[in-house]
Symmetry: C2
Subunit: 688 residues, 2 copies
């Protein structure tokens, strides 16, 4: 039995925050603490080991991680990382999400719209160039100069080679800037995905909990010129189950952590940005639940969006309650005070750092004033509508491409355009009733939070209502047609200006105001915060050296740990689950109903097969799909979740309770063989 | 133009909290600060004035206030206070909420289900008896002894006279206990209600904002034995508009304030109870919005519930952001520290008070542990389902009526049963699809917040899903039929136990667990907090005397103030709006569309008629419908809202910005005459 009471579980979990923890860290491959690992686990992680793992580690542009697991471009990831792909391949009456996607032969593998796979090749340090560009500048000038330096560095590293992608990434919040150079694969095809009831058994109630019984795994394959890509560097498949205590390594792309934020920034999240986001998210969640109950088809199209909203809801619920925990915030404050005291005690360091913490605190007042309008007009504009987002991309790309790359909004720089274009032009269904729901919800919340009398509300709505305007835009827009998008993309600014598509006209009309809001935020918040954060990062290096790891940035990291359960309120939580535990938990009612194939296969399966397991690895959202690797570099599972205590991981790692949740290769192998009869796939994986 | 940005408006508003403010206070009629009022406004409020106003002041059991405005039992209140009545009288195709309820003659006045009107007769101090009952007791014993003392005091004051209602109320959080003895009127009929578009023009976006253009007023009438009640004591109707600066008095029943809570209690609200409530409320809101868009009939039945949820949402949003405001909480802390210091400086007081603040802080840990389960199993059980609440009333009343009154759950004491029975047995429509929505939402949230593995979740769901269980209960229950309810009420416990109604069986099965949860909460939280609060109240009296007013308790209070606008970010907000301002704000799209009658009447109306106005009176939810009275005791409006700054009023009053929003009798008179042609009603009001 487990104790899973969300709020109180979290309250208990963070007494120890702020002190360095065993197994803590999302390390870059160029600064992995091999000596520490050797001391703790007796395992040698040398350069060849790191090179081999890096070469087989994959980043998916859909926000996940993955790994190459055969010489023929086969990639292991999570089912929830390909669910958007399954959804896009589905249509009324054909539901690959619900029923799974089960190919019998290579020809049945189908392209995933918008998905690109990336493998890291090299890392180039460009810290000096970026710092030099921003030196002496403030406000919008600072932001623009830095964006230009990023674009220049990327172009220098990748040139115009379309097989590459270069990306400048800030580490340690301005402590280092590095260009990550990737091999890009724009043709990724779906190979295997289990049924929703199997991949996400227990649904939202079990999400972020353990014991768990999910086959949250899937396979895709890299293609080039219509053929599978040859991938001689892949991770060896280990079908034998994990052993309690054995060391584990997770290679993947943790999306974002906030461990190096200042206390004033954390307070802003706690008091303003998290609550507002959660309140709007909850309302959208309610709409999607109700929408899904209206018909079978509505349930089909709302299923994935709802799962996404519910997952985010739980993530941010966890964050909000960790930040509301006094002892956690006291520890954070003590940590900050200690660093500040050390800086103050060193005159040179003190002079160089200035009042960086105070500058960030001052900028929080600007956040309080400008956050909601930025959210509604820019960062969350459109509320999730694909049509809106196609229109905004078309409008802005047309405007930006007319400028030199260094002067553009950074997301439209030359090195970014290939992916922008792919995401815009790849064909995928647009679900009209959902579009209406998203747009209306966004317009309703914009009017509510900015008020009916705000100039932005009046600009968006005129004399229309949110309900009426969203209906008119969705009914009239032709942007669901990829051909229409292609024509507007190719036609550039003159085509955009001549378009009578109501969504294009709407976005064109609101765009100057949205850019204005963004500019004001960048000048008032981004610039002073980034400049001050650079100083704090330098001070931290001066005090702590590079024995620290940078906050997560959706770039390749390696974490170490071991297979281990934990103790919760005196109860020992075992590190493994088995197939028999799964069948015990089945009630027959969603989300605790088993898929028919699994009911049929029950007697064929070994009930003691290790299904899911937990490790102490320090991961976070974005790591989904990451390979979990043993000391020999073999893959033993794919990480798909954290336990409830991991929700505080955004702000700090507590090794006593924070756990990574993994689906074991032992379970995948057994299921592919006995439930799905996918012999060819098993042979490809095991080389037999 | 107005500035209404919700969050930042609130942040600015509470710098001054904690210091006593002019016009602050919701005073009881037996302790009104007439001298203060005389000094500030030169107005004499003597006993005859107070007696006359008390005799014409009405409490509605639907959670509102009102006033008698003719000698024939006519009562003025808000439209939103009778909207549930209009809704209950409507049916598919006949929508009194949307179209208004416009009687031409007395015979057309229709009974409001569940509504009882109450007029305060006398106040009896029972502090000593209540204190004596609880003395030396702790935990559940303390709670039970006190509940018994309440019941005894009520019975002593009212006996079994069905025309009376007696209620023991705690003032100053345990500083005083008084029995309020009311004349009760159980037959209240709807006389006049305007269209929704008129009463709630601007809808949720304009709610809690000003300038405002709402005819949020309505009339009901007291009946007895099928005839209007004679009410010789009524407020005189003043049809001339209010004058800027003139003194105003509001007599009504403010529902609840938290101004005398300790800082640890406020922190619990800020960090736990408010966020959880708001997150669940937001999701329900999303469901209701989506539900209402499914069909015209769904919109009709969801309209009122949605308005209620949105109103609560805004109220608690305001509260959450006030509590998140550091300067506000610092002021609260300073206030508390000052009182504690004075107590500590007086050895006798210190000995008597003990560590009362510490005891309350300790109990907050129990709140953190038990709040969610209490909410899901007891205080919010059923999620708003009428069928559930009928079933719970039937089950518990049957169990409790078998015991002596002093041993019952207090809500089933002898003096409470008449209203319980009325609410249970009054006929009103039950909207099946909404029932399903509420129950399902509640079960989903219970599983989510308590987890799928909690014993309570397992008890509620068994092997069923929230969706399946709620559908089964709603489809199978016959409790929508008042005759079925009557039979079960009359049949008592044996009828309940023999019933095969699935809702009765469900509630019976969960009841022991729900009572268990409540008991544990009362023992761990209510008892220690109430005992400590009594000590703090005594200490406060010792230090401050009775120059303070008690927190609101939905009992009759009088507040004083004046007609006045305010200044917001340098902009002067005028205290009045006019009909011409209303027509300027009409866009034609909901909620800014005018009702057809108002479009037709535009040219007949005097455009300069004062429509709504604001005053400095200190009110809060529950005061809705309160008469706003001039120095001569004449009614000049009915209070229907506060401005955005009033949302912080739960925790403190800031006279510089906190305003009461009122619909003027001048507007009601003009509209009744020229828009609605209700001559007889105007004659009854004006005596002409």
């Amino acid at each position: 039995m487990t104790v899973r009471l969300l709020a109180s579980a979290l309250v208990l979990s963070f007494a120890a925050a702020g002190t360095a923890q065993a197994d803590e860290g999302m390390w870059t491959f160029d600064n992995f603490p091999s000596a520490k690992v050797k001391a703790a686990y007796g395992v040698t992680i040398d350069q060849p080991w790191l090179d081999a793992v890096q070469a087989a580690s994959v980043r998916l542009t859909t926000g996940c991680s993955a790994s190459i697991v055969s010489k023929e471009g086969l990639i292991l990831t999570n089912n929830h990382c390909v669910a958007d792909c399954s959804q896009a391949l589905s249509s009324e009456g054909k539901d690959y999400v619900k029923d799974g996607f089960l190919t019998g032969a290579r020809e049945e593998e189908l392209k995933c719209a918008g998905m690109q796979a990336e493998v890291l090749l090299t890392i180039v340090d460009v810290t000096d160039a970026v710092r030099a560009a921003g030196a002496g500048k403030t406000g919008q000038d600072f932001v623009k100069a830095r964006d230009a330096a990023f674009a220049t560095a990327e172009l220098a590293a990748c040139g115009n080679d379309k097989t590459l992608r270069c990306q400048t990434i800030s580490f340690y919040r301005g402590g280092q800037y590095k260009v990550y150079k990737y091999r890009r694969y724009a043709d990724v095809r779906l190979v295997f995905a289990p049924e929703y009831a199997t991949a996400f058994f227990g649904g939202d109630p079990d999400n972020f909990n353990f014991p768990r019984f999910n086959l949250d795994s899937a396979f895709v394959r890299l293609y080039d010129n219509g053929k599978p890509v040859e991938t001689p560097q892949f991770l060896k498949w280990r079908a034998t189950p994990p052993v309690a205590g054995e060391p584990t390594f997770v290679a993947g792309n943790p999306g974002s952590t906030e461990r190096q934020l200042t206390v004033s920034q954390l307070e802003t999240q706690r008091d303003l940005t998290l609550p507002i986001g959660q309140l709007q998210r909850s309302e959208l969640r309610g709409r999607l639940i109700q929408f899904g109950e209206e018909s079978v088809e509505h349930k089909r199209i709302a299923n994935q969006p709802l799962a996404g909203v519910e997952n985010s809801y739980k993530v941010f619920f966890g964050r909000q309650f960790v930040l509301a925990d006094k002892s956690f915030m006291d520890a954070k404050r003590a940590q900050e005070d200690s660093l500040r005291a050390k800086v103050a005690a060193d005159p040179k360091l003190a002079a160089q750092t200035g009042d960086a913490w105070g500058q960030i605190a001052t900028a929080q007042k600007v956040v309080a004033e400008k956050f909601i309008v930025l959210r509604q007009m820019e960062t969350s504009a459109g509320g999730g509508s694909d049509l809106f987002s196609y229109a905004r991309t078309l409008v802005r790309a047309a405007q930006e491409r007319a400028k030199p790359t260094a002067e553009r909004l950074p997301e439209y720089g030359d090195t970014r355009l290939a992916l922008v274009e792919k995401k815009l032009l790849d064909a995928r269904p647009v679900d009209t009733p959902l579009e209406q729901l998203y747009l209306e919800h966004w317009l309703l919340k914009t009017r509510e939070y900015l008020t009916a009398d705000a100039p932005q509300t009046k600009l968006l709505l005129g004399k229309e209502s949110p309900e009426g305007l969203s209906a008119r835009l969705v009914a009239g827009s032709k942007l669901a047609d990829p051909g229409v998008r292609k024509a507007l993309w190719d036609g550039g600014l003159s085509a955009i200006k001549a378009s009578d598509d109501p969504m294009i006209k709407f976005v064109l009309a609101m765009d100057p105001a949205a850019r204005e809001v963004r500019k004001a935020y960048e000048a008032g918040v981004t610039a002073p915060v980034d400049a001050a954060a650079e100083k704090i990062a330098k001070a931290r290096f001066a005090v702590l050296g590079d024995s620290v790891y940078p906050d997560a940035t959706f770039s390749l990291r390696l974490s170490y740990g071991k297979v281990a359960g934990w103790t919760q309120r005196g109860q020992e939580i075992k590190p493994f689950t088995t197939f028999s535990g799964f069948y015990d938990r089945v009630t027959g009612a969603e989300p605790f109903a088993a898929a028919p194939r699994w009911i049929a296969a029950k007697d064929k399966l070994n009930p003691n097969t290790v299904y899911d397991f937990v490790t102490t690895n320090d991961i976070i959202g974005g790591n989904s799909g990451s390979p979990v690797i043993d000391a020999k570099g073999q893959v033993i599972g794919t990480a798909f979740d954290g336990n409830i205590h991991s929700l505080g991981g955004a702000y700090g790692y507590d090794g006593t309770t924070n756990r990574t949740v993994v689906v074991a290769t032992s379970a995948i192998t057994e299921a592919l063989t006995k439930v799905y009869g996918r012999t060819a796939l098993v042979e490809e994986l095991t080389g037999k």
